[in-house]
Symmetry: C2
Subunit: 162 residues, 2 copies
DNA sequence: GCCGAAACCATGAAATATCATACAAACTGC
DNA sequence: GCAGTTTGTATGATATTTCATGGTTTCGGC
Protein backbone atom coordinates (compact mmCIF):
# COMPACT_ATOMS: atom_id res chain seq x y z
CA UNK A 1 0.00 0.00 0.00
CA UNK A 2 1.58 3.24 -1.11
CA UNK A 3 0.94 5.66 1.73
CA UNK A 4 1.32 9.40 2.01
CA UNK A 5 3.42 10.95 4.68
CA UNK A 6 1.91 10.15 8.08
CA UNK A 7 -0.15 12.94 9.60
CA UNK A 8 0.86 14.62 12.80
CA UNK A 9 -1.07 13.52 15.81
CA UNK A 10 -0.66 16.87 17.44
CA UNK A 11 -3.03 18.37 14.93
CA UNK A 12 -5.84 16.33 16.35
CA UNK A 13 -4.99 17.40 19.82
CA UNK A 14 -5.11 21.03 18.88
CA UNK A 15 -8.82 20.87 18.17
CA UNK A 16 -9.96 21.61 21.68
CA UNK A 17 -13.67 21.77 20.98
CA UNK A 18 -13.92 18.57 23.00
CA UNK A 19 -11.83 15.71 24.40
CA UNK A 20 -9.94 14.15 21.53
CA UNK A 21 -10.05 10.39 21.66
CA UNK A 22 -7.51 9.06 19.22
CA UNK A 23 -4.25 10.70 20.33
CA UNK A 24 -4.27 8.64 23.52
CA UNK A 25 -6.05 5.54 22.29
CA UNK A 26 -3.65 2.67 22.62
CA UNK A 27 -4.87 0.67 19.62
CA UNK A 28 -4.55 3.73 17.45
CA UNK A 29 -1.06 4.51 18.73
CA UNK A 30 0.01 0.95 18.08
CA UNK A 31 -1.44 0.83 14.58
CA UNK A 32 -0.15 4.27 13.62
CA UNK A 33 3.30 3.69 14.99
CA UNK A 34 3.51 0.33 13.32
CA UNK A 35 2.47 1.83 10.00
CA UNK A 36 4.84 4.78 10.31
CA UNK A 37 7.75 2.59 11.32
CA UNK A 38 7.14 0.09 8.55
CA UNK A 39 6.42 2.44 5.67
CA UNK A 40 10.00 2.87 4.51
CA UNK A 41 10.94 -0.76 4.65
CA UNK A 42 7.74 -1.84 3.00
CA UNK A 43 8.72 0.36 0.08
CA UNK A 44 12.02 -1.50 -0.06
CA UNK A 45 10.15 -4.78 0.01
CA UNK A 46 8.11 -3.77 -3.00
CA UNK A 47 11.20 -2.61 -4.83
CA UNK A 48 12.45 -6.16 -4.49
CA UNK A 49 9.35 -7.47 -6.23
CA UNK A 50 7.67 -8.73 -3.07
CA UNK A 51 4.47 -7.72 -1.44
CA UNK A 52 4.43 -7.26 2.31
CA UNK A 53 2.66 -10.56 3.07
CA UNK A 54 5.19 -12.39 0.95
CA UNK A 55 8.04 -10.78 2.80
CA UNK A 56 6.43 -11.83 6.06
CA UNK A 57 6.20 -15.40 4.88
CA UNK A 58 9.84 -15.41 3.88
CA UNK A 59 10.86 -13.97 7.23
CA UNK A 60 8.84 -16.55 9.12
CA UNK A 61 10.32 -19.40 7.12
CA UNK A 62 13.78 -17.94 7.53
CA UNK A 63 13.39 -18.37 11.26
CA UNK A 64 11.73 -21.77 11.06
CA UNK A 65 11.42 -23.59 7.78
CA UNK A 66 8.61 -26.03 7.14
CA UNK A 67 5.90 -24.41 9.19
CA UNK A 68 2.32 -25.45 8.70
CA UNK A 69 -0.10 -23.16 6.91
CA UNK A 70 -2.26 -22.20 9.87
CA UNK A 71 0.62 -21.19 12.06
CA UNK A 72 2.31 -19.33 9.26
CA UNK A 73 -0.89 -17.39 8.69
CA UNK A 74 -0.99 -16.45 12.37
CA UNK A 75 2.60 -15.31 12.45
CA UNK A 76 2.34 -13.46 9.18
CA UNK A 77 -0.82 -11.70 10.36
CA UNK A 78 -3.21 -12.86 7.71
CA UNK A 79 -6.14 -15.14 7.19
CA UNK A 80 -5.52 -18.72 6.32
CA UNK A 81 -7.28 -18.60 2.98
CA UNK A 82 -5.27 -15.60 1.97
CA UNK A 83 -2.04 -17.30 2.92
CA UNK A 84 -3.04 -20.34 0.90
CA UNK A 85 -3.22 -18.19 -2.21
CA UNK A 86 -0.02 -16.36 -1.42
CA UNK A 87 1.73 -19.69 -1.04
CA UNK A 88 0.31 -20.62 -4.45
CA UNK A 89 1.96 -17.58 -5.98
CA UNK A 90 5.23 -17.96 -4.14
CA UNK A 91 5.28 -21.59 -5.14
CA UNK A 92 4.68 -20.67 -8.78
CA UNK A 93 7.58 -18.21 -8.48
CA UNK A 94 9.79 -20.90 -7.08
CA UNK A 95 10.29 -19.33 -3.67
CA UNK A 96 8.59 -21.96 -1.53
CA UNK A 97 7.17 -25.45 -1.87
CA UNK A 98 4.51 -27.44 -0.08
CA UNK A 99 5.18 -30.79 1.52
CA UNK A 100 2.55 -32.75 3.31
CA UNK A 101 3.29 -33.74 6.87
CA UNK A 102 3.89 -37.47 7.14
CA UNK A 103 2.61 -37.71 10.70
CA UNK A 104 -0.55 -35.66 10.22
CA UNK A 105 -1.67 -35.66 6.65
CA UNK A 106 -4.06 -32.80 7.14
CA UNK A 107 -1.09 -30.54 7.54
CA UNK A 108 0.80 -28.87 4.74
CA UNK A 109 4.29 -27.73 5.56
CA UNK A 110 5.78 -24.83 3.67
CA UNK A 111 9.47 -24.95 2.87
CA UNK A 112 11.82 -22.42 1.32
CA UNK A 113 13.42 -23.46 -1.94
CA UNK A 114 17.05 -22.63 -2.62
CA UNK A 115 16.07 -19.40 -4.35
CA UNK A 116 13.60 -18.66 -1.61
CA UNK A 117 16.25 -19.03 1.03
CA UNK A 118 18.64 -16.74 -0.80
CA UNK A 119 15.98 -14.07 -1.11
CA UNK A 120 14.88 -14.53 2.49
CA UNK A 121 18.44 -14.12 3.76
CA UNK A 122 18.96 -11.02 1.70
CA UNK A 123 15.75 -9.42 2.85
CA UNK A 124 16.37 -10.28 6.49
CA UNK A 125 19.78 -8.68 6.14
CA UNK A 126 18.21 -5.54 4.71
CA UNK A 127 15.53 -5.52 7.36
CA UNK A 128 18.18 -5.67 10.05
CA UNK A 129 20.05 -2.78 8.48
CA UNK A 130 16.91 -0.74 8.15
CA UNK A 131 16.00 -1.46 11.75
CA UNK A 132 19.38 -0.23 12.87
CA UNK A 133 18.87 2.96 10.90
CA UNK A 134 15.45 3.46 12.44
CA UNK A 135 16.71 2.90 15.94
CA UNK A 136 19.52 5.35 15.43
CA UNK A 137 16.88 8.05 15.17
CA UNK A 138 15.77 7.37 18.72
CA UNK A 139 17.54 8.38 21.92
CA UNK A 140 19.90 5.68 23.17
CA UNK A 141 18.10 2.81 24.80
CA UNK A 142 14.62 3.82 23.68
CA UNK A 143 14.57 1.13 21.06
CA UNK A 144 15.36 -1.63 23.50
CA UNK A 145 12.94 -0.20 26.01
CA UNK A 146 10.22 -0.34 23.36
CA UNK A 147 11.12 -3.86 22.36
CA UNK A 148 10.97 -5.12 25.91
CA UNK A 149 7.67 -3.44 26.52
CA UNK A 150 6.14 -4.73 23.30
CA UNK A 151 7.19 -8.28 24.03
CA UNK A 152 5.62 -8.13 27.43
CA UNK A 153 2.43 -6.56 26.15
CA UNK A 154 2.21 -8.99 23.25
CA UNK A 155 2.45 -11.83 25.68
CA UNK A 156 -0.49 -10.50 27.65
CA UNK A 157 -2.66 -9.57 24.71
CA UNK A 158 -2.06 -12.70 22.70
CA UNK A 159 -2.96 -15.04 25.52
CA UNK A 160 0.56 -16.42 25.68
CA UNK A 161 0.46 -15.51 29.34
CA UNK A 162 -2.02 -18.25 30.20
CA UNK B 1 -10.21 -9.92 8.90
CA UNK B 2 -11.21 -12.84 11.04
CA UNK B 3 -8.00 -14.01 12.65
CA UNK B 4 -7.08 -17.10 14.57
CA UNK B 5 -5.60 -16.89 18.01
CA UNK B 6 -2.21 -15.18 17.80
CA UNK B 7 0.76 -17.53 17.84
CA UNK B 8 3.26 -17.52 20.64
CA UNK B 9 6.49 -15.78 19.83
CA UNK B 10 8.42 -18.00 22.16
CA UNK B 11 7.91 -20.89 19.82
CA UNK B 12 10.05 -19.22 17.24
CA UNK B 13 12.74 -18.53 19.78
CA UNK B 14 12.89 -22.16 20.74
CA UNK B 15 14.17 -23.15 17.34
CA UNK B 16 17.82 -22.61 18.08
CA UNK B 17 19.21 -23.97 14.84
CA UNK B 18 20.29 -20.41 14.13
CA UNK B 19 19.68 -16.82 15.23
CA UNK B 20 15.97 -16.19 15.01
CA UNK B 21 15.23 -12.84 13.47
CA UNK B 22 11.60 -12.05 14.05
CA UNK B 23 11.24 -12.27 17.83
CA UNK B 24 13.39 -9.16 18.26
CA UNK B 25 12.56 -7.34 15.05
CA UNK B 26 10.92 -4.10 16.00
CA UNK B 27 8.59 -3.83 13.01
CA UNK B 28 7.37 -7.34 13.64
CA UNK B 29 6.81 -6.69 17.33
CA UNK B 30 4.89 -3.53 16.52
CA UNK B 31 2.70 -5.18 13.89
CA UNK B 32 2.05 -8.30 15.95
CA UNK B 33 1.28 -6.42 19.10
CA UNK B 34 -1.00 -4.07 17.26
CA UNK B 35 -2.85 -6.99 15.68
CA UNK B 36 -3.11 -8.91 18.95
CA UNK B 37 -4.29 -5.87 20.86
CA UNK B 38 -6.85 -4.92 18.25
CA UNK B 39 -8.30 -8.33 17.44
CA UNK B 40 -10.99 -8.34 20.09
CA UNK B 41 -12.20 -4.86 19.46
CA UNK B 42 -12.19 -5.32 15.73
CA UNK B 43 -14.58 -8.20 16.26
CA UNK B 44 -16.84 -5.83 18.18
CA UNK B 45 -16.59 -3.34 15.34
CA UNK B 46 -17.79 -5.94 12.87
CA UNK B 47 -20.61 -6.95 15.17
CA UNK B 48 -21.82 -3.39 14.90
CA UNK B 49 -21.97 -3.66 11.13
CA UNK B 50 -18.81 -1.69 10.50
CA UNK B 51 -15.57 -2.69 8.92
CA UNK B 52 -12.36 -1.59 10.55
CA UNK B 53 -11.61 1.19 8.06
CA UNK B 54 -15.09 2.57 8.58
CA UNK B 55 -14.65 2.58 12.31
CA UNK B 56 -11.38 4.43 11.85
CA UNK B 57 -13.08 7.07 9.77
CA UNK B 58 -15.79 7.52 12.37
CA UNK B 59 -13.20 7.83 15.12
CA UNK B 60 -11.23 10.41 13.17
CA UNK B 61 -14.31 12.47 12.45
CA UNK B 62 -15.41 12.15 16.05
CA UNK B 63 -12.24 13.95 17.03
CA UNK B 64 -12.37 16.47 14.23
CA UNK B 65 -15.34 16.69 11.96
CA UNK B 66 -15.03 17.94 8.39
CA UNK B 67 -11.55 16.69 7.62
CA UNK B 68 -10.39 16.58 4.05
CA UNK B 69 -10.07 13.28 2.27
CA UNK B 70 -6.30 13.13 2.02
CA UNK B 71 -5.73 13.79 5.68
CA UNK B 72 -8.44 11.39 6.73
CA UNK B 73 -6.79 8.69 4.64
CA UNK B 74 -3.48 9.32 6.37
CA UNK B 75 -4.99 9.19 9.85
CA UNK B 76 -7.11 6.15 9.06
CA UNK B 77 -4.08 4.35 7.63
CA UNK B 78 -5.32 3.74 4.14
CA UNK B 79 -4.78 4.87 0.62
CA UNK B 80 -6.68 7.83 -0.66
CA UNK B 81 -8.52 5.97 -3.39
CA UNK B 82 -9.64 3.39 -0.94
CA UNK B 83 -10.93 6.01 1.43
CA UNK B 84 -12.82 7.65 -1.42
CA UNK B 85 -14.78 4.47 -1.94
CA UNK B 86 -15.31 3.91 1.74
CA UNK B 87 -16.70 7.42 2.01
CA UNK B 88 -19.02 6.54 -0.88
CA UNK B 89 -20.40 3.63 1.09
CA UNK B 90 -20.64 5.46 4.37
CA UNK B 91 -22.36 8.28 2.56
CA UNK B 92 -24.83 5.86 1.00
CA UNK B 93 -25.49 4.50 4.47
CA UNK B 94 -26.11 7.97 5.77
CA UNK B 95 -23.18 8.04 8.17
CA UNK B 96 -21.18 10.84 6.57
CA UNK B 97 -21.57 13.44 3.87
CA UNK B 98 -19.22 15.30 1.60
CA UNK B 99 -19.06 19.06 1.44
CA UNK B 100 -16.72 20.90 -0.81
CA UNK B 101 -14.43 23.39 0.81
CA UNK B 102 -15.42 26.94 -0.08
CA UNK B 103 -11.91 28.31 0.13
CA UNK B 104 -10.19 25.56 -1.85
CA UNK B 105 -12.61 23.86 -4.14
CA UNK B 106 -10.28 20.96 -4.81
CA UNK B 107 -10.88 19.81 -1.28
CA UNK B 108 -13.72 17.62 -0.14
CA UNK B 109 -14.55 17.79 3.53
CA UNK B 110 -16.15 14.81 5.17
CA UNK B 111 -18.75 15.45 7.84
CA UNK B 112 -20.61 13.15 10.19
CA UNK B 113 -24.36 13.12 9.78
CA UNK B 114 -26.59 12.97 12.85
CA UNK B 115 -26.73 9.19 12.65
CA UNK B 116 -23.02 9.06 11.99
CA UNK B 117 -22.30 11.08 15.08
CA UNK B 118 -24.49 8.90 17.24
CA UNK B 119 -22.73 5.77 16.00
CA UNK B 120 -19.31 7.38 16.34
CA UNK B 121 -19.99 8.37 19.93
CA UNK B 122 -21.22 4.92 20.79
CA UNK B 123 -18.24 3.21 19.24
CA UNK B 124 -15.77 5.58 20.84
CA UNK B 125 -17.42 4.84 24.16
CA UNK B 126 -17.04 1.12 23.57
CA UNK B 127 -13.48 1.54 22.43
CA UNK B 128 -12.65 3.38 25.61
CA UNK B 129 -14.23 0.64 27.69
CA UNK B 130 -12.40 -2.04 25.79
CA UNK B 131 -9.14 -0.17 26.19
CA UNK B 132 -9.66 0.01 29.93
CA UNK B 133 -10.27 -3.74 30.00
CA UNK B 134 -7.13 -4.39 28.00
CA UNK B 135 -5.01 -2.16 30.20
CA UNK B 136 -6.30 -3.86 33.30
CA UNK B 137 -4.52 -7.00 32.12
CA UNK B 138 -1.18 -5.22 32.34
CA UNK B 139 0.77 -4.39 35.48
CA UNK B 140 -0.03 -0.93 36.82
CA UNK B 141 1.57 1.81 34.84
CA UNK B 142 2.66 -0.36 31.92
CA UNK B 143 -0.12 0.96 29.76
CA UNK B 144 0.84 4.56 30.27
CA UNK B 145 4.47 3.73 29.83
CA UNK B 146 3.67 2.13 26.50
CA UNK B 147 1.54 5.07 25.43
CA UNK B 148 4.25 7.57 26.21
CA UNK B 149 6.85 5.55 24.41
CA UNK B 150 4.67 5.02 21.34
CA UNK B 151 3.88 8.72 21.08
CA UNK B 152 7.54 9.58 21.20
CA UNK B 153 8.49 6.92 18.69
CA UNK B 154 5.62 7.85 16.39
CA UNK B 155 6.84 11.41 16.40
CA UNK B 156 10.29 10.32 15.30
CA UNK B 157 9.21 7.80 12.72
CA UNK B 158 6.48 9.89 11.14
CA UNK B 159 8.73 12.87 10.60
CA UNK B 160 6.71 14.99 13.00
CA UNK B 161 10.01 15.63 14.74
CA UNK B 162 11.32 17.86 11.95
C1' DG C 1 -13.21 -49.98 15.84
C1' DC C 2 -17.09 -46.57 15.30
C1' DC C 3 -19.33 -42.06 15.20
C1' DG C 4 -19.63 -37.37 15.86
C1' DA C 5 -16.76 -33.50 16.40
C1' DA C 6 -12.75 -30.91 15.53
C1' DA C 7 -8.56 -29.43 12.98
C1' DC C 8 -6.41 -28.39 8.65
C1' DC C 9 -6.26 -26.65 4.14
C1' DA C 10 -8.38 -25.33 -0.42
C1' DT C 11 -11.68 -23.02 -3.32
C1' DG C 12 -15.83 -20.47 -5.65
C1' DA C 13 -18.22 -16.37 -5.95
C1' DA C 14 -18.71 -11.84 -4.52
C1' DA C 15 -16.80 -7.87 -2.58
C1' DT C 16 -12.78 -5.09 -2.18
C1' DA C 17 -8.22 -2.92 -2.90
C1' DT C 18 -4.71 -1.30 -5.90
C1' DC C 19 -2.31 1.20 -9.52
C1' DA C 20 -2.22 4.30 -12.80
C1' DT C 21 -4.31 7.92 -14.49
C1' DA C 22 -7.86 11.48 -15.37
C1' DC C 23 -9.81 15.64 -14.09
C1' DA C 24 -10.24 19.98 -11.74
C1' DA C 25 -8.60 23.68 -8.93
C1' DA C 26 -4.98 26.31 -7.05
C1' DC C 27 -0.36 27.85 -6.99
C1' DT C 28 4.32 29.76 -9.14
C1' DG C 29 7.16 32.58 -11.66
C1' DC C 30 7.08 35.44 -15.04
C1' DG D 1 -3.18 36.63 -16.62
C1' DC D 2 -0.68 32.65 -18.68
C1' DA D 3 1.98 28.13 -19.08
C1' DG D 4 3.69 24.76 -16.28
C1' DT D 5 3.52 22.50 -11.91
C1' DT D 6 1.50 20.83 -7.89
C1' DT D 7 -2.30 19.45 -5.01
C1' DG D 8 -6.74 17.15 -4.10
C1' DT D 9 -10.09 13.75 -5.36
C1' DA D 10 -12.33 10.27 -8.31
C1' DT D 11 -12.46 6.34 -11.38
C1' DG D 12 -11.53 2.28 -14.62
C1' DA D 13 -9.42 -2.05 -15.08
C1' DT D 14 -7.17 -5.57 -12.85
C1' DA D 15 -5.69 -8.18 -9.09
C1' DT D 16 -6.58 -9.42 -4.47
C1' DT D 17 -9.22 -10.46 -0.29
C1' DT D 18 -13.00 -12.26 2.02
C1' DC D 19 -16.65 -15.35 3.62
C1' DA D 20 -18.69 -19.38 3.64
C1' DT D 21 -18.13 -23.85 2.81
C1' DG D 22 -16.20 -28.35 1.09
C1' DG D 23 -13.13 -32.23 1.46
C1' DT D 24 -9.81 -34.76 4.22
C1' DT D 25 -7.67 -36.42 8.06
C1' DT D 26 -7.37 -36.95 12.98
C1' DC D 27 -9.23 -37.02 17.67
C1' DG D 28 -12.21 -38.45 21.71
C1' DG D 29 -15.52 -41.00 24.01
C1' DC D 30 -17.50 -45.07 24.09
Amino acid sequence: MKMDRPPHLKDLEEDAEKQPFLPNYLLFLLASTSAAASAEFHATVREHGLRVPEWRVLACLHDEDGQMVTRLAGLALMEQSRLTRIIDQMDARGLVERRSDALDRRRVRVHLTGDGRILAEEMVQRAAEHEAALLSRLPDGKGNELRRLLKEVYRQFSGEAD
